[in-house]
């Protein structure tokens, strides 16, 4: 492992691939700098948003790299314990393979095996992938987000400094360590309501248009897309594709003629309604009321604006704040 991995992460400007895009090098450095008896590394494989499936793809194809990334992180921050937090189906599909890698039965990556790694099966909905909810889940506490600050880098799992990164981030940390990082990322591309789901590893600076064209996914029909994630991503029309993708790198393609905007919004509303943690008023009650209006197809613009306002301004965690994005952008583009 390179001695100066944190410097390299910074130099390569690796941003967290879970969606929040926090600079990985900085995060690693923060955890490293805190003096503590115990530190944790958590690999977040909770991938819970519709249209986002690239972490599953990485676990399927490059599990050794992910484990290697976790190992590098443990050494870099000075931590002896790690958790791999997996959504239920990923746990079922990949836990055996990952355990074997960790015990050094398949891959020669870890001489003598990697100690101190535990697995945790995600139990609940979307919000349980939010990093502080995930901490509560592992600790067996009520599943809801924690107040920040303190940030997990300072007080995370069992109050110890904790580095939480996404599967893909660990994958690329390993690549950077080997000097094999070519400024790429994994894109999940799918068509709405289609089972055809594909993952592509492509340069981070490609525009959406280029990605769709190069991967032969550019539709012949009249369409719009959702960029970044299939629930919290922004809606972009086919004229808006000259830009990069943020968030967790997903593109969902919608057929303009065939997509009923109410049905689409209902789908998001259902997702956020069932996927929120019920803790704070704007998210619990606000999303419920948005869903109610969509269901009845009676949208009161004034109320909708008010609800968007409190969701954005007063939600406890990012889930509520980002839940507004798809609705707002769809309404702007389609009505």
């Amino acid at each position: 492992m390179s001695k100066n991995i944190i410097t390299k992460l910074k130099k390569e400007n690796l941003l967290g691939r879970g969606g929040a895009e926090f600079p990985a090098g900085l995060k690693w450095e923060m955890v490293k700098k805190v003096e503590a008896k115990k530190k944790y590394v958590i690999c977040n494989g909770s991938e819970g948003e519709p249209g986002v499936f690239k972490d599953g793809f990485i676990l399927e194809n490059y599990p050794e790299k992910v484990v290697r990334g976790i190992e590098i992180a443990m050494k870099a921050i000075g931590g002896k314990s790690a958790y791999i937090y997996l959504r239920k189906d990923y746990y079922q599909r990949f836990v055996k393979k990952l355990k074997k890698i960790i015990q050094n039965k398949i891959s020669p990556l870890n001489k003598g095996g990697l100690r101190g790694v535990s697995f945790f099966k995600k139990q609940n909905g979307y919000f349980a992938g939010e990093e502080t909810s995930l901490l509560n889940a592992i600790e067996g506490k009520t599943l809801e987000p924690r107040e920040k600050p303190p940030f997990p880098t300072e007080k995370g799992l069992f109050d110890c400094p904790t580095l939480i990164n996404n599967i893909e981030t660990f994958y690329y940390a390993a690549k950077i360590d080997e000097n094999k990082y070519k400024k790429t990322r994994f894109y999940s591309i799918s068509e709405n309501d289609s089972k055809d789901k594909n993952v592509y590893e492509l340069p981070i600076d490609w525009t959406i248009e280029k990605i769709l064209k190069e991967t032969k996914n550019f539709p012949r029909y009249n369409f719009f897309i959702q960029s970044g994630g299939g629930a919290s991503g922004e809606i972009l029309s086919s004229d808006d594709l000259n830009q990069k993708i943020g968030g967790s790198g997903a593109i969902v393609i919608y057929d303009f003629e065939k997509t009923d905007p109410f049905e689409l919004m209902k789908k998001w509303a259902d997702f956020f309604f069932t996927g929120n943690c019920n803790k704070c008023v704007p998210c619990r009650e606000g999303i419920y009321r948005i869903r109610e209006m969509i269901e009845e197809k009676k949208i009161d613009e004034k109320i909708l604006k008010d609800l968007f306002f409190v969701l954005k301004e007063t939600s406890f965690c990012p889930l509520g704040k980002t839940a507004v994005i798809p609705f707002e952008s769809l309404i702007k583009k389609m009505f």
């Binding site: 009520t142 107040e147 600050p149 309604f273 069932t274 019920n278 803790k279 704070c280 008023v281 704007p282 619990r284 009650e285 606000g286 419920y288 009321r289 109320i303 008010d306 609800l307 306002f309 409190v310 301004e313 007063t314 939600s315 406890f316």
Partner: protein, 583 residues
């Protein structure tokens, strides 16, 4: 303790110094700047879920909850702005969208935060159809009602119930909402402490009301209605009439009850004097034969039920002595009835208690004396205040009166029963006198007057600490005591005792924080500062009382002499307990 460093901040352009670990809400409150909040309660963890206490901070984007945001040096905070008002208004509308209003019948009736905020922020309380309008009302035994259509999901009740170690209330997923419900778990049952009631900001919990039931006997001329009021009432009911927290209103209280039409008014503190003597005798006996130690106090019905339900193996440790209201009620229907030549069946005893579990206690069949319940009805402090208001009786303006003879004059020891540590202190004052066979030279336990006696250790049992321990030396004997308030803490003591049964000789437990002054039947709001005020005034009454030992109370002495022979003592002053299943 090191004093927190002071840092400078500004709130609404006003320069303020505040302790560095404070939150914005705390710093504002300390400086008289009001920030509205619903889910915040100083007894509980900061949850930050109502999103009403929002403020703006210069240099930071968006709005920030003041309850959970710590102050930082140089922070410039704004607590009112058009943006803040808009956010508060909408979030309050969403809160009201859950809460079914039933304002005429609410414990917050005269001081509802929700309504006050609705007015201030021009909230349309019916902007949305109440999501919970068809939600059920649950009844917990004879004590508590939970109207879940009024719940605003703040989680306070679930947290206090957890803190109590009871875990009867839980959040369960229903139609995709985590709603507060009583558990279905057979191993968890409500013990009626009522802490959910006093920590609920939206009036979803309330005592099972008996104020309507008492109006019939009050009108009926054939009935003799005797009121008796608990120690803790005298320093709390004033709050319901705008008097300062903890104000002593004993005589006004009596005057007001007279106006309701009561025939006689006695003081439960006198009953407490009997409890003290009986409990002191029990303790002396148990210390002598080393049986069933440590002895647990038994005047808190929530604690008793907690033992019967959760820890039946400790039933023998409970003192068999009845609680003050039950002893006094029993004496009223026997000793006093005989003395006054009244048919006891005509007597209706109404207790005013700081407690909702007392409503459960009076239903216990084993307490019956000659087929009669010692107490017929229990009103909480809040219920009595409600009755006064209904009858247009303003406690502030009532002519003060004295309690009736003979069961109306307590010792100081009987009054401090209302505060955590009071029962233990009262009992030990008597135990000391009996064991040391001499009268205490002086009883002052507070360090303020510097007086030292053999009982100085007792000062350790006062105050709001959750667990207080002391060793009391009487001659060459040492009595190890523990005083606990809050059942979660009692659980810890019980676990300790499982490890080491000889750890204590006597344990006092009160289910509620600070003892009965913090009871589930007391006025809202209640927090540690308010409870401290209520308790300190009880000790003030004790200090001013000439008679401060239960067994020196002349009335008590007289009753023992004239009436309480061995048989009557067993009948009126003692009881038994049984392991309980979920009701």
């Amino acid at each position: 303790m090191k004093k927190a460093q002071q840092i400078k901040i500004t709130i609404n352009k006003k320069k303020i110094k505040a302790g560095e670990n404070q939150t914005i809400l705390e710093a504002a409150e300390e400086n008289g700047i009001e920030i509205p909040s619903l889910c915040y309660h100083s007894d509980l963890k900061i949850k930050s879920n109502c999103r009403v206490c929002l403020v703006e901070i210069k240099g930071r984007k968006g709005l920030h909850p003041s309850c959970s945001t710590k102050i930082e040096s140089g922070m410039e905070i704004i607590t009112e702005s058009p943006k803040i008002s808009r956010a508060r208004k909408i979030n309050l509308e969403l809160v009201f969208a859950q809460h079914r209003e039933e304002c005429d019948d609410c414990i917050w009736n005269f001081d509802c935060q929700l309504l006050a905020l609705a007015k201030k922020y021009k909230v349309k309380i019916d902007r949305f159809i109440d999501r919970k309008k068809d939600y059920p009302v649950y009844k917990f035994g004879p004590s508590i009602e939970f109207d879940s259509s009024k719940c605003i999901n703040c989680g306070n009740c679930v947290e206090v119930c957890q803190n109590q170690g009871v875990n009867f209330l839980e959040a369960r997923k229903q139609n995709n909402f985590l709603e507060v419900v009583p558990t279905k778990d057979k191993n968890k049952d409500c013990i009626y402490c009522g802490q959910c009631i006093v920590h609920c900001p939206s009036g979803a919990f309330e005592a099972v009301g008996e104020f309507e039931k008492v109006s019939e006997p009050l009108r009926n001329k054939n009935k003799i209605v005797v009121f008796q009021f608990a120690p803790a009432i005298r320093t709390s009911i004033g709050e319901e009439f705008g008097l300062p927290f903890g104000e002593i209103v004993t005589e006004k209280l009596i005057g007001a009850i007279k106006k309701l039409g009561a025939d006689k008014i006695f003081d439960v503190s006198v009953g407490a004097d009997f409890t003290t003597i009986e409990e002191a005798d029990e303790l002396i006996e148990r210390l002598g034969n080393r049986k069933n130690l440590p002895m647990f106090t038994s005047c808190c019905p929530s604690w008793v039920k907690f033992i019967e339900f959760n820890y039946p193996e400790f039933i023998p440790n409970l003192a068999t002595t009845r609680s003050p209201q039950i002893i006094l009620g029993g004496l009223i229907k026997t000793y006093w009835a005989k003395k006054e030549n009244i048919d006891p069946k005509k007597i209706i005893v109404i207790s005013v208690m700081p407690c909702v579990a007392k409503k459960f206690e009076i239903q216990r069949k084993e307490l019956k004396i000659n087929e009669m319940k010692p107490v017929d009805y229990v009103l909480t402090t809040r219920e009595l205040a409600y009755l006064f208001i209904k009858h247009k009786i303003d406690l502030k303006k009532v002519k003060p009166e004295k309690a009736d003879n003979p069961l109306g004059i307590p010792s100081g020891a009987g009054v401090i029963y209302g505060a955590s540590g009071g029962v233990m202190e009262s009992a030990l004052r008597t135990v000391y006198a009996k064991l040391a066979k001499k009268r205490l030279p002086k009883i002052e336990f507070t360090p303020l007057n510097g007086c030292q006696t053999n009982l100085t250790g007792l000062k350790k049992v006062r105050g709001m600490d959750e667990v207080k321990k002391a060793n009391i030396k009487i001659d060459d004997r040492i009595i190890k005591i523990a005083v606990v308030n809050g059942l979660g803490n009692a659980k810890k003591i019980l676990e300790e005792l499982k490890e080491n049964p000889k750890k204590y000789d006597a344990v006092e437990v009160m289910a509620c924080p600070g003892g009965c002054i913090g009871g589930g039947g007391q006025p809202v709001p209640a927090d540690n500062e308010i409870r401290k005020e209520r308790a300190s005034r009880l000790y003030q009454i004790d200090t001013k009382n000439k008679i401060r030992l239960a067994h020196e109370n002349p009335i008590v002495k007289k009753v023992y002499r004239e009436f309480l022979n061995k048989k009557n003592r067993r009948l009126i002053c003692h009881t038994k307990y049984n392991a309980k299943r979920k009701s």
